[in-house]
């Protein structure tokens, strides 16, 4: 059930971000919608349940994107690890802190991407528009990322509750 939920959410997010968002000029500098999901997995879900899924997701995104292969896997893996470390040492389940953690995740993704691009093209230049893109992404993440986190958590909990009730009901019928 959990994996079904993960697959559905990720499919929706990937399709939304590759086919719908590019057509909306308002979201020209929107951040990677999978970042809040990775952070959600890092903050709220056990590692052994999520780690394989994150690697598969990174692999999928690497295939969809023109990024050097492995860049998304790397980014998502480290985002997840850092989210896990943050939850262990900083106890950031506070709602206000959650606002910042998504923005920090988006910043981290951009830093890894810039490093990736610089490594593959040592002579590449990053004009002022690059900084603007990063700033816009962070602002968007700060404004909307929290709601994604809450949404994922709420829907997942509801689904789990519904599924457990369904199993209990079936077990009672069997008795």
């Amino acid at each position: 059930m959990t994996y079904c939920f993960y697959i559905c959410v990720c499919l929706c997010l990937v399709i939304f971000q590759t086919t719908i968002i590019p057509h909306i000029s308002l979201f020209n500098n929107f951040y990677d919608l999978l970042v809040p999901f990775i952070i959600y997995l890092g903050l709220f879900r056990p590692a052994r349940e999520s780690i394989l899924f994150i690697l598969v997701l990174g692999f999928l995104m690497d295939n969809l994107s023109g990024a050097p292969f492995g860049l998304y896997v790397t980014t998502y893996f480290w985002l997840f690890i850092i989210a896990k470390l943050v939850i262990r040492y900083l106890h950031v389940r506070n709602n206000i802190l959650l606002l910042f953690i998504i923005a920090a995740g988006v910043l981290m993704e951009n830093i890894i991407f810039i490093a990736g691009v610089s490594m593959s093209n040592p002579d590449s230049q990053f004009p002022a528009i690059t900084i603007r893109t990063v700033i816009f992404q962070i602002l968007w993440a700060g404004c909307t990322g929290f709601f994604f986190l809450i949404f994922f958590n709420h829907v997942h909990k509801k689904l789990e509750k519904w599924f457990n009730e369904l199993i209990a009901e079936k077990a009672n019928i069997m008795k």
């Binding site: 990937v14 971000q17 590759t18 086919t19 590019p22 020209n28 500098n29 990677d32 999978l34 995104m61 295939n63 969809l64 994107s65 023109g66 990024a67 951009n110 991407f113 810039i114 691009v117 593959s120 093209n121 590449s124 230049q125 990053f126 004009p127 528009i129 690059t130 893109t133 992404q137």
Partner: protein, 272 residues
């Protein structure tokens, strides 16, 4: 007998009076009195009837009007939707005609493909098209549009392909300045423009010059438009000048592309 005679006389007199009265109108004042007493009642009743009629017409009857209104709204929405579809078809028709005209001018075998997705990251510029291995697409084939070169196929699946756009930082096209025939290598930049590398300082190029493919990269056919020179920077030192090339294509609005199935092939090994 007397009764019959009286009746006949009465009828005759009556007819005479009627014929005399019908030639001119006279009410002898009694009409005014009748109107004075009757008219107020008539008015009240008439107003009441009108009031009831209004209530019926504007409130009870409105149930059917509301239904009719709903139906009309639906019809309008349907018409707007249809109009939008026709408009979209018209625009699409114009675009495809343009593509078809361009296709006719090309000597190479080409395949029209639709753009179905864009890169999830703003750092990399790739698109996904709806044609793949099953349609004869191979890795490395050039992708063009009427405005110029779009990119190159870098990955293929059975039904879909990934195209690296010329504005991606990993992309490079060997080019010529159309007017002066000076060579350079156009590479993508992160701001959606391109940089022409290895253009010698001594070359007399100007802002606005058109840049075309040289065909020497072995990927793109010669003579296809790449963009125009939008900025030239000549530093005090160095043998090259920094040339910024802005592509003619608006990559944000790319919807259909042409994949060249038989690009010119150079057998560099045998030539050596």
């Amino acid at each position: 007998m007397v009764m019959i005679v009286c009746a006949v006389v009465l009828i005759v007199v009556n007819i005479i009076i009627l014929s005399v009265n019908s030639s001119r109108y006279s009410s002898y004042g009694s009409g005014r009195i009748a109107i004075f007493f009757i008219a107020p009642f008539q008015e009240t009743v008439a107003q009441s009837v009108q009031f009831l009629k209004n209530i019926w017409g504007h409130y009870f009857f409105l149930v059917s009007v509301a239904k009719e209104n709903d139906n009309l709204k639906k019809a309008i929405n349907h018409a707007i939707d249809k109009n939008n579809k026709y408009r979209e078809i018209e625009i699409s028709n114009f675009r495809l005609r343009n593509l078809l005209n361009f296709r006719k001018t090309m000597t190479n075998r080409v395949l029209v493909a639709k753009v179905i997705g864009q890169d999830p990251s703003p750092w990399f510029k790739t698109i996904i098209i709806d044609k793949g291995k099953s349609d004869g697409i191979e890795k490395g084939l050039p992708v063009v549009v009427p405005e110029g070169i779009a990119g190159q196929v870098i990955d293929i699946s059975y039904n879909y392909s990934k195209v690296l756009l010329i504005i991606d930082q990993n992309s490079a096209v060997d080019v010529l300045v159309q007017r002066t025939r000076d060579r350079g290598l156009v590479k993508g930049q992160s701001d959606g423009r391109c940089l022409a590398n290895y253009v010698l300082r001594k070359h007399d190029i100007k802002v606005g010059d058109t840049v075309i493919s040289s065909g020497l990269d072995g990927v793109f056919p010669k003579g296809l438009r790449v963009g125009y020179i939008s900025e030239i920077v000549k530093r005090n030192s160095g043998i090259f000048q920094e040339v910024t090339v802005t592509p003619y294509i608006d990559f944000e609005k790319l919807e259909e592309v042409l994949v060249i199935l038989d690009p010119p092939k150079h057998d560099f090994v045998s030539e050596q």
